[in-house]
Symmetry: C2
Subunit: 537 residues, 2 copies
């Protein structure tokens, strides 16, 4: 039996590809709910339809066994999972493929690969599982390099050590979410970090991109779970000390967390774990008014109750998810604990929500699970699989996410939504469909997540997408938000990241990069403008 | 009536100086509890007993009104509050005084002062309220500088803006703890950050040193409260965007948090606030066995209950604090909330503690306050005031603090305690007294805080202190701890900080410093070895 192979052009395994009927079903459903017209079906690419440029490099003998340059290996590492990635894949355009893909088996291999790349003048693209939606793994990095080597880290896939009493484990950076959890389960532990990309993303990728987990409050960001890091840079290996807390200077880990492969490759991390939860309660709440719902979530978020889920989904997005008929905004509230029943917590949070006008099914709230909450969760997990059905029928589906303090939220939400709606009309010539949910709720503000659908002109998809992306990004940066709350910067967000970042921090970061990656071989163009390409160009 | 003036040689106001009888009372009490002999009384220095070197610099006319070089101004900015600081003050030795002290009134003054310092070749010591116990404000920085300018930031003392709905405020960096809380109180808000130095330390100092608050779990570190920062560096001003969360690259704020005045001067911060708590419960628990007590705190710390206080004080330290007779180890447990009664939380935590062998007065536990907990808290607040009584009678009193994961804690605690005890005998020729408490409890480990008393040889206090400090620091670094959990690095911890810090992170940090402070005028020798002094020496 063949090994389960991932699609080289999109999310998930080849065996999970939607057939024509499946794609049509999804496209028709979304089209009817958004008022858009699906185009004719176009099948996803097959590998023999794709023509790749000849690789410009070949590995030294000692590394040859780790490297491959066959079409599937290169094509499957050409793109992430953004809308323009799908469009280019559907156009059978893999001209941007890396010259070579390497699969190191251990840290020494990573060191050897970086040494080779440095000596051979190659750019290196660190690659987890390619879930980036922001151009984080683009292999076309400009004329300043002799070629591009993508380093796929998924063979560094083991939990090396578990410390039960501190609830921590030493874990290799390339492990995928499910394999990580499977290795922790026998010890009764969990990292409990569930980004939407969980099935096909890696621990090292989560750390490098400041991944946000599924949980809405408190410990959900990967940043908080990092106890120490081991990172290979072109200048050598950095290993931070394993500590529950430290005040010894600026945190070394916080420089690597969010470095997006531009400073080093995270080969190992000691991660803080949690006991597997045994007590649970969830509820779905209905609000007539979006502003009122936001105020309710703010109240719960500021109450010090720390629900595991505290999510607001606007009425249109709930309808799209099959959770409601569009007549109410949906809030999902949940508590869980490995230690104690959470009834007191839930009761108080529901009281708080009711004070702000929430309607809810009080019977459902007393059960462990709520069907509306389940419907939403199911749609959340299915979303990356469904997307190819929309692409196959010429529909644009994209998301962008940000964060903003509460005082500015209402104006921010209205302004960004309106700017995106206007940009869709301007770019595509017809109205699209823009919705919003909160992925995380902080005491000082929410993390709004926007989803939009549009019908671009065939052949002009990327240009139209870029116009919409630019307008939405301009609007959210102008209104004080962040260009990304958890999707990362990559290459797509660079102009707005540079606008948002203090200029002198950019200089400090560039200086740090020169210390760690003096020849600028790591992920050029991500977080920092590519110096070499500029010099060569 | 004269303005309340701070002692130039120690903690607190001049009006709070212990008289001879008060000093004797404290020294006798501590001596009897630790088995040490107090020496004869020596009074603290008076300003006219002190002779300062002639200042080497004078300010340009435009800045003259901000600057002073009188004896009191310079003497009161010569030292922090470490044991060797007290010893040098008692020796009437203020040879290390800065040449000049400046009090900027606004950010433009800070910029102008840095410009002047850069042009005149001066070193700049950013100074909050001088509570450092690690040599963070030493003005003697070597021959590479034409002189030293200490910048006292306490006139930047205002809350500039309050955002009630996000619970955040824009606050100037030089505000002292009590003045900050007084300005927030009318809005019903609190920063709720109470380091032991609260009365005489500043917001900017807390951020620059990664201060740890009084609370034992969850939101207690200043790091977590920073929403955005405004920092003046010699290269210009950095201002980060006000955001509840962001995944846009490595956090710019986390580079400044813990930078100890070596990268810039924090002039403003947006800080996350909390509602003032109205529900409270506290309990004191007694344990026969220290290891068992640690296990109980670990269990509560890992239960997801997030007590505001969860502290373990060993039997000898409890006795010193007047909280118990030394027959039991004391754990202090407390919950508080601005939102909901905390009974369910407390009940479950007590159950958890009882499962681990805790004894407690169940009546007291049901009251809002526990008298044993109050006794400990009172001693905690009094400690910096009492210290001068010990110094006046020739007793060495010092503390050091660290953090370690639970798996290594028992061996770590035993090893560090034994090494410190042995070093005291070796250095002073007689046994001292070493105790331990936990200041913070993380799910993955505690932050142990060691207090010791010894009787050094008169005239050899600093040399003997240094021998003990070195041995204790060697032991805790060897055993895997951090050289500081919340006291910061300063100059005293540099050798162990450099041992602990990944070498390449040191290079990245040095590179960042070159970008922000190219002439290396800011706090030379803190976090990074002083380049200029080396070049000149």
């Amino acid at each position: 039996m063949a090994e389960a192979r991932r699609k080289f052009w999109g999310w998930g395994l080849e065996s999970e590809t939607l057939d024509e009927a499946g794609a049509a079903r999804i496209a028709r459903r979304v089209a009817s709910l958004t008022g858009l017209d699906p185009g004719p079906y176009r099948a996803p690419p097959a590998i023999d339809e794709v023509s790749l440029p000849t690789p410009r490099v070949s590995p030294p003998a000692a590394l040859a066994a780790l490297c491959r340059s066959d079409d599937y290996s290169r094509a499957s590492h050409t793109y992430g999972k953004s809308y323009p990635d799908y469009v280019r894949a559907w156009a059978r355009d893999f001209a941007a493929a890396p010259d070579m893909v390497a699969w190191p088996e251990d840290e020494a291999d990573v060191v050897a690969l970086l040494d080779w790349a440095g000596a051979a003048g190659l750019a290196v693209i660190p690659y987890g599982a390619g879930s980036t939606v922001v151009g984080g793994v683009e292999a076309e990095v400009g004329a300043g390099y002799a070629g591009t080597l993508t380093i796929d880290l998924t063979r560094l896939d083991r939990v090396l050590e578990i410390d039960r009493s501190s609830r921590a484990a030493r874990i290799q950076g390339g492990v995928l979410g499910p394999a990580l959890e499977a290795q922790l389960r026998p010890a009764g532990l969990t990292l409990r970090h569930f980004p939407q990309s969980f099935a096909f993303s890696t621990l090292g990728g989560w750390i490098a991109t400041r991944s946000g987990g599924h949980y809405a409050t408190l410990y959900t960001h990967i940043d908080e779970f990092v106890e120490s890091l081991r990172t290979v840079t072109p200048a050598g290996v950095l290993e931070s000390r394993r500590l529950p807390g430290s005040g010894a200077g600026p945190s070394p880990d916080r420089l690597m967390i969010g470095s997006e492969g531009s400073l080093g490759i995270i080969t190992e991390a000691w991660m803080r774990l949690q006991d597997r939860p045994t007590h649970r309660a969830s509820a779905a709440l209905r609000f007539a008014d979006f502003g009122g719902a936001a105020a309710a979530l703010r109240a719960v978020g500021q109450a010090g109750l720390y629900p595991t889920n505290l999510r607001l989904v606007d009425s249109e997005e709930a309808r799209l998810a099959g959770a409601g008929d569009g007549s109410f905004h949906l809030a999902v509230l949940a508590f869980e604990s490995a230690d104690h029943p959470v009834d007191a917590w839930m009761a108080h949070a529901l009281e708080c929500m009711a004070d702000h006008g929430a309607g809810f099914d009080s019977d459902a709230a007393l059960r462990a699970r709520d069907p509306l909450a389940d419907a939403w969760r199911e749609a959340f997990i299915r979303a990356p699989y469904d997307r190819e059905g929309l692409i196959a029928h010429g529909l644009l589906h994209d998301t962008f996410e940000t964060a903003i303090t509460w005082d500015r939220f209402e104006e921010f939400h209205a302004g960004v939504k309106a700017a995106t709606e206007a940009a869709i009309v301007e770019a595509t010539g017809r109205p699209g469909h823009v919705t919003c949910r909160f992925t995380h709720v902080y005491p000082d503000g929410p993390a709004p997540y926007f989803t939009y659908h549009a019908k671009p002109t065939p052949g002009a998809e990327i240009e139209q997408w870029r116009a919409i992306k630019s307008a939405a990004s301009d609007a959210l940066i102008r209104a004080g938000g962040t260009i990304t709350h958890h999707h990362a910067v990559g290459r797509d967000h660079m102009p707005w990241y540079e606008a948002q970042r203090p200029a002198l921090f950019g200089e400090a970061l560039a200086a740090a990069k020169r210390a760690l990656d003096p020849d600028e071989i790591l992920n050029p163009g991500v977080l920092l403008p590519p110096r070499r390409a500029a010099a060569a160009g």
